[in-house]
């Protein structure tokens, strides 16, 4: 009766097309006025951009970065052999040799949870938004939407890009992360990493035929024709969204930046192989090549890139035993290549890299478990080579530095120079704090 996880994938895939693509910030006079009000939120930033690797389904913390080989319970001990990493004291699964070698580049946060065991899959939007989202709460924006709204980026880059797919719509008790109260203008633009002619989105954006000079002339003519239905008082959200999307579309078409970021054809096979390959199970592109495209988009100035890296939704130990040997080495290759590559290029100075899912794996049965999970953090002022937080002998409960999605979001916003208690206008009328909780704590230990 309840297709559950499968239903969720189906909806999000279908709705991937429906969502918008964030626009850049400040155009009309009222917008500028609003901008001033919101600019209060921005303080000097230690980081400028974000690359989020979204591991939906619940990667197993007790088989990856929080191993419990000493547990008295057979079922808790790691499924695969622990190996020593470059960071003294940190052991990871033998399926992650490359991540082990570069463990001095990132921080492992072990003490994250959503604060109640009832979350599991439904924490998807909670993790991405830093606010608990249920059908009864406001449709809080994801961190990417907030960044797109408050900070924005270069006019000719989408402010919020999702590669492969984006979980916009929810189903069966899993609230979607899309349709946020900031409006369609701040939803991510969903793109596929392979910019082949078969990909319509890429075909439109890459546009090799485009003569920029003629295009400029045409758009001026359009301006002369498009005097009707202007939204002077910004009261019609439809017209506002249309204007903003069109402006952004034209800016992107005029600029070569995005075309180049997606064009991997000039790269040597060596570079492509360094990132490795992994098939997206729900119709997205090559997940590892997505990481390469994401790096190139960050280099081109994209403020927030979300990479959908599937699929960690294993139920029970047998699925983990058969699934991990396939997926973990792929992720290990891609993730380590991304961190090393970004470090070599100096991109970790200003870019926060996050890898996380919405839950962990139950220590005893390796089924859905929201009691404990890990978050990987690097760059943008986060510490290099550190383990923060601890869980008990069976990985069931936090014993040190317990923290929540709100705290993580506040820490990330802090690095970006965004005051997490600054207010956004929900639905144009109601002020809501970016992280809508009184007591939030910045997780200082994960910062350099």
């Amino acid at each position: 009766m309840k297709p559950g996880c499968r239903e969720y994938h189906r909806f999000s895939r279908r709705d991937a097309l429906r969502v918008g693509g964030a626009t850049f910030f400040g155009l009309t006079v009222p917008q500028l006025l609003r901008a001033r009000e919101e600019s209060l939120a921005v303080t000097p930033a230690k980081a400028k951009q974000v690359l989020l690797v979204w591991m939906y389904g619940g990667p197993s913390q007790i088989d990856m970065f929080d191993l419990k080989p000493g547990s008295k319970k057979d079922a808790v001990r790691p499924l695969f052999k622990p190996i020593q990493t470059a960071l003294p004291g940190l052991h990871v699964s033998e399926l992650l040799p490359r991540m082990a070698r570069i463990a001095d580049k990132y921080t492992v946060l072990r003490s994250m949870w959503a604060g109640s065991l009832h979350w599991t899959h439904s924490a998807l939007a909670y993790m991405l938004c830093g606010n608990p989202r249920t059908p009864n709460t406001l449709a809080y924006p994801t961190m990417g939407s907030v960044v797109a709204k408050v900070k924005g980026g270069p006019a000719d880059m989408p402010n919020y890009i999702a590669l492969n797919m984006f979980p916009a719509k929810g189903a069966d008790g899993v609230p979607g992360a899309g349709d946020c109260f900031l409006g369609a203008a701040y939803e991510p633009l969903v793109l596929q990493p392979d910019a082949s002619a078969k990909n319509p989105m890429a075909e439109m954006l890459v546009a090799p035929h485009l003569d920029v000079k003629t295009f400029e002339r045409k758009t001026n003519l359009l301006k002369a024709f498009d005097q009707k239905l202007r939204n002077m008082d910004r009261l019609d959200p439809l017209v506002e969204a249309m204007d903003q999307h069109q402006q952004k579309a034209f800016d992107m078409l005029r600029s070569p930046k995005i075309r180049e970021a997606f064009n991997l054809s000039k790269l040597s096979p060596k570079v492509l192989d360094r990132y490795g390959h992994s098939k997206h199970p729900y119709g997205g592109g090559d997940q590892n090549q997505s990481l390469l495209v994401a790096r190139r988009l960050i280099e081109a100035g994209a403020p927030f890139v979300h990479v959908d890296y599937q699929n960690w939704d294993w139920h029970g130990a047998p699925e983990n035993v058969s699934g991990q040997p396939k997926l973990l080495p792929q992720w290990d290759t891609g993730m380590s290549a991304l961190l090393e590559d970004m470090d070599d290029r100096g991109l970790l100075e200003n870019t926060i890299v996050i890898a996380m899912g919405e839950q962990g794996r139950g220590p005893l049965d390796r089924n859905h478990w929201s009691g404990t999970q890990f978050v990987l953090l690097a760059g943008g002022g986060f510490a290099r080579g550190r383990v923060v937080g601890a869980t008990d002998a069976d990985g069931m409960k936090q014993t040190e530095d317990e923290c929540f999605p709100e705290d993580l979001a506040a820490t990330i916003y802090g690095q970006l120079g965004i005051d997490p208690h600054a207010q956004l206008m929900a639905n144009g009328e109601r002020p809501v704090r970016i992280v809508d909780k009184d007591s939030i704590k910045v997780i200082k230990k994960v910062l350099a």
Binding site: M1, M201, M204, A224, F225, D226, Q227, L238, Q246
Partner: protein, 861 residues
């Protein structure tokens, strides 16, 4: 300072609020929620010395939110080891869990204040749900009193709520005023009680009005909303209308075109919201064409309409446009949105019966009925009470079957327009394909039907009662038993008529079988050929029987069953939605006819209203009940009397759909400008202006073709000829699972085309929002580029026509794309552009590109 005016006080009021209140008269009666009465009422129940568990304690747990879903104890698994029934629907279960689980530590009658539930609720010990009440509060005293008196369970049957009434049912307040609601419960034992302080109180829009725990409402901002009040699991609602302190805005002197406007204007007046002016003629014509036919008005018609000086030219035009084929094409697509011809298919399972041809027939059958303007009740009857044989001689059906079989071979016909090959199925009286869709029978069938024809969402009732709806699981299951008596799908049996016909064929079939046996042993080539021909003949003769849709008249059928996390359930009775008593099932009767009879009752609360509300939403951008597929008693209309009147008159008209369309189109409300009066700019639910909307998915492709003069091309598997309208493809299944890699689906899905698969029951499926990919599509998709620059496209043809000046060419492009002539400035800009282009044709193509990229082109305004 209580100056609330309940409805009964209104007759002493003068001014707009009073006149609006009169309009609400009829609505008043609808608002008290009647529960089926048990009949005999017992004398007064237990005196309230110690609080009653069922009447007070459980409602307090609801009021404090303990038994809510989400992150509270009402979810199926409970929370932190403690589970309550959702909203307290099962008091006896709740009692057992409170008293017996957890070693009885939840309650302590010796030291009641130390009871765990009180410690948790008051936040004295850590509680995931936080602090719910204060020590010593009224709620606290009730819980404490009950625990102290020994914590007993009283008779739940006697305490069943038979009637819950809120008074006043309509509260009108000025901004800043407050007023009180009183809630009275009547129980199965005949007792009544004021339960205001035991209810949970909420308003739908806290910016318009707020309500506190004692039922006191505060008017905050001009607007209307509802208070939803829940006593235990029983909900009831009151309409709240907040009017301005004083009328500040000049109300223009506008004339109502018909009763629609009278209702709309009265409410606007009461709320001090001046309406917009009438739109201009060019806007009206474009709006009318797009909404009714999904096309732009032809250029020559724009010119003549603008020049026409007749006073009644708009009404004449409405009749004329409603008579165009586009009307039936658009509404066949709309009905395909509702009774979906596409099955889930995409996940690889159960790929649709018969495939593409059947889906096209399905659409075409609907189109033909709309073209004939079949009475709506008959249309639904011919869809729902359908069968293959339709009471005709079986031979006729067999002949039809064979004719249908030969149809697809004719698809090479290249003539555009509606395929002649589809005329056989069109002429059938009933749409038996309805029953061939996935999940057309049983519980899913009932949900599909309720969504399509009753405007109800019953999905939640599969497992439990939805918090904001009235349907119980038993309502759905009993209704679903009507949907079991149709023979369809894999294990179908034939109707008695067809069985008799088969019987008659037996001797012949037997003879053929014997001949085949003889031939099969022969080695002669001629015999082999004969054998295979004979084999085909046998197969063709038997083929119809496996496709027959027939009612199981009178044959016993089992009850439907649902399995949810709460277990597996069935209902042993067959009952119509909202009826108290089970239906009587006469032997030999087609159960579906009983449903039809119920739909046709003039007081059926859903059937006429559902279609009236959907047609209204199509033209006005927002349903009188919004969302349009949620006619729940707990989702009230913004204009209840208007909806009732329109529905009643629609029935009176003989369920005449064209009457309904015409009446709405003729209203001033439809013909308003999109530019609101300043004071009404924020209004979204009172029709103070025409609501802007993006053109729907298939329509936008059609108008791009119309403006550019291009012909749409379809993938071969779609079986559509070049140049046919995109709207006609409403039945085509688009493979969403591959849409990332295929261009064709992208072009249809980017603008929110519905998938029309049976497993999604929601009007929300068709997205009407604006997205960046859509703007990119218009600006730079290769499909649009190709159409603008085609050699036989509009721009090229105009450029090649030597008889025209550039001025005329630009005017033609404006008329074709925007349905209006260019202004002087626009013409000047266009002329300069064309002059400075490499060739006039290149210049005109860019003019056309600019026109299709305007807001004006992509919106209906």
């Amino acid at each position: 300072m209580r100056r609330a005016r309940s409805f009964t006080h209104l007759c002493f009021l003068a001014g707009p609020a009073a006149s609006f209140a009169l309009i609400l008269l009829a609505a008043f009666a609808l608002l008290a929620q009647e529960k089926p009465d048990s009949g005999k009422s017992a004398p007064a129940g237990t005196p309230a010395e110690s609080p009653s568990f069922t009447r007070e304690v459980v409602p307090v747990l609801s009021r404090l939110g303990c038994n809510a879903g989400g992150s509270c104890h009402g979810i199926v698994k409970g929370q932190e080891g403690f589970r309550l029934s959702l909203f307290g629907a099962q008091p006896a279960d709740d009692f057992a869990r409170l008293t017996r689980e957890f070693g009885g530590r939840r309650l302590d009658s010796n030291r009641p204040d130390s009871s765990l539930i009180l410690m948790k609720a008051t936040g004295q010990v850590p509680h995931g749900g936080g602090k719910r009440t204060e020590i010593g509060s009224r709620d606290y005293q009730i819980l404490r009193g009950w625990i102290a008196s020994g914590g007993r369970l009283d008779d739940a049957a006697k305490a069943r709520v038979t009637r819950l009434v809120v008074s006043p049912a309509e509260l009108i307040l000025k901004v800043g005023e407050s007023g009180r609601l009183k809630i009275t419960a009547t129980y199965a034992d005949g007792t009544t009680a004021d339960v205001t302080h035991l209810c949970r109180h909420e308003t739908n829009d806290a910016e318009v009005a707020t309500i506190d725990a004692s039922g006191t409402v505060q008017g905050r901002r001009v607007g209307d909303t509802v208070a939803i009040i829940r006593y235990g699991a029983e909900p009831v609602l009151a309409n709240l209308l907040v009017v301005p302190k004083e009328t500040r805005n000049a109300f223009p002197d506008v004339k109502a075109h018909n009763f629609i406007d009278e209702q709309v204007l009265a409410k606007l007046r009461a709320m001090d919201l001046p309406p917009a002016a009438l739109c201009d003629d060019a806007t009206f014509l474009r709006r009318l064409y797009l909404d009714v036919t999904g096309f732009l008005p032809p250029p020559e018609e724009v010119r003549t309409f603008l020049a026409d000086k007749a006073a009644d030219k708009r009404n004449k035009k409405i009749d004329e446009v409603l008579g165009k084929p586009g009307y039936a094409e658009i509404w066949a697509a709309k009905f395909s949105d509702l009774i979906k011809p596409v099955e889930r298919g995409n996940d690889g399972s159960n790929n649709l019966v018969g495939g593409q041809v059947l889906r096209i027939r399905f659409y075409e059958w609907l189109r033909a009925r709309l073209e004939e303007n079949t009475r709506y009740d008959q249309l639904v009857e011919r869809v729902f009470v359908s069968s293959s044989v339709e009471g005709r001689p079986v031979e006729e059906w067999i002949k039809e079957f064979q004719a249908l079989r030969e149809e697809p071979t004719k698809k090479k016909d290249k003539t555009p327009g509606t395929s002649p090959l589809l005329s056989v199925y069109n002429q059938r009286k009933t749409l038996d394909l309805y029953w061939e869709r996935d999940g057309a029978t049983g519980v899913t069938g009932a949900m599909q039907f309720a969504h399509a024809f009753l405007g109800l969402r019953l999905q939640c009732a599969q497992c439990h009662r939805h918090p904001y709806d009235t349907w119980q699981q038993d309502d759905l299951l009993s209704f679903a038993n009507f949907f079991t008596a149709v023979n369809t799908g894999g294990s179908r049996k034939n109707s008695p008529e067809v069985e008799a016909y088969k019987e008659k064929l037996q001797p012949e079939l037997k003879a053929w079988a014997e001949e085949l046996k003889k031939l099969s042993t022969s080695k002669d080539a001629a015999d082999k050929k004969k054998a295979s021909e004979l084999q085909a003949k046998i197969a063709a003769t038997q083929a119809p029987f496996a496709t027959e849709v027939a009612p199981l008249n009178g044959a016993p059928v089992g009850s439907v069953r649902v399995t949810s996390p709460l277990g597996s359930q069935a209902s042993s009775v067959t009952r119509l939605l909202g009826d108290k008593a089970p239906a009587e099932l006469a032997p030999g009767q087609d159960r579906r006819k009983q449903v039809m009879e119920w739909l046709r009752k003039p007081d059926n609360p859903y059937f006429a209203r559902a279609i009236v509300n959907r047609v209204w939403e199509h033209y006005m951008g927002r349903g009188l009940v919004d969302p349009a597929d949620n006619l729940s008693p707990l989702n009230p209309s913004s204009h209840p009397v208007l909806l009732d009147t329109l529905s009643r008159d629609f029935i009176k008209s003989g369920y005449d759909l064209k009457w309904l369309h015409r009446t709405i189109l003729q209203s001033r409300t439809y013909q308003q400008s999109h530019e609101a009066a300043k004071a009404s700019a924020r209004d979204t639910r009172n029709y103070a202006r025409f609501q802007l909307r993006r053109l729907p998915g298939e329509v936008i492709l059609d108008v791009v073709n119309q403006a550019t003069g291009a012909k749409e091309k379809y993938p071969a598997t779609w079986m559509f000829r070049e140049g046919e309208r995109a709207v006609l493809t409403a039945g085509v299944m688009v493979d969403v699972y591959n849409f990332y890699n295929i261009n064709d689906p992208f072009r249809y899905l980017v603008f929110g085309r519905q998938l029309r698969r049976t497993n999604v029951q929601c009007d929300c499926e068709q997205g009407r929002d604006v997205s960046l990919p859509q703007l990119l599509f218009m600006a730079n998709h290769e499909e649009v580029r190709r159409k603008i620059t085609a050699d036989d496209g509009r721009a090229a043809l105009l450029a090649n026509n030597d008889k025209l000046t550039n001025e005329q060419r630009i005017e033609e492009l404006f008329l074709a794309a925007l349905g209006r002539l260019p202004s002087a400035d626009e013409l000047k800009a266009g002329l300069e552009y064309v002059k400075s282009s490499i060739t006039p044709r290149k210049g005109l193509e860019d003019v056309l590109w600019s026109l299709v990229n305007t807001r004006e082109f992509q919106l209906n305004y």
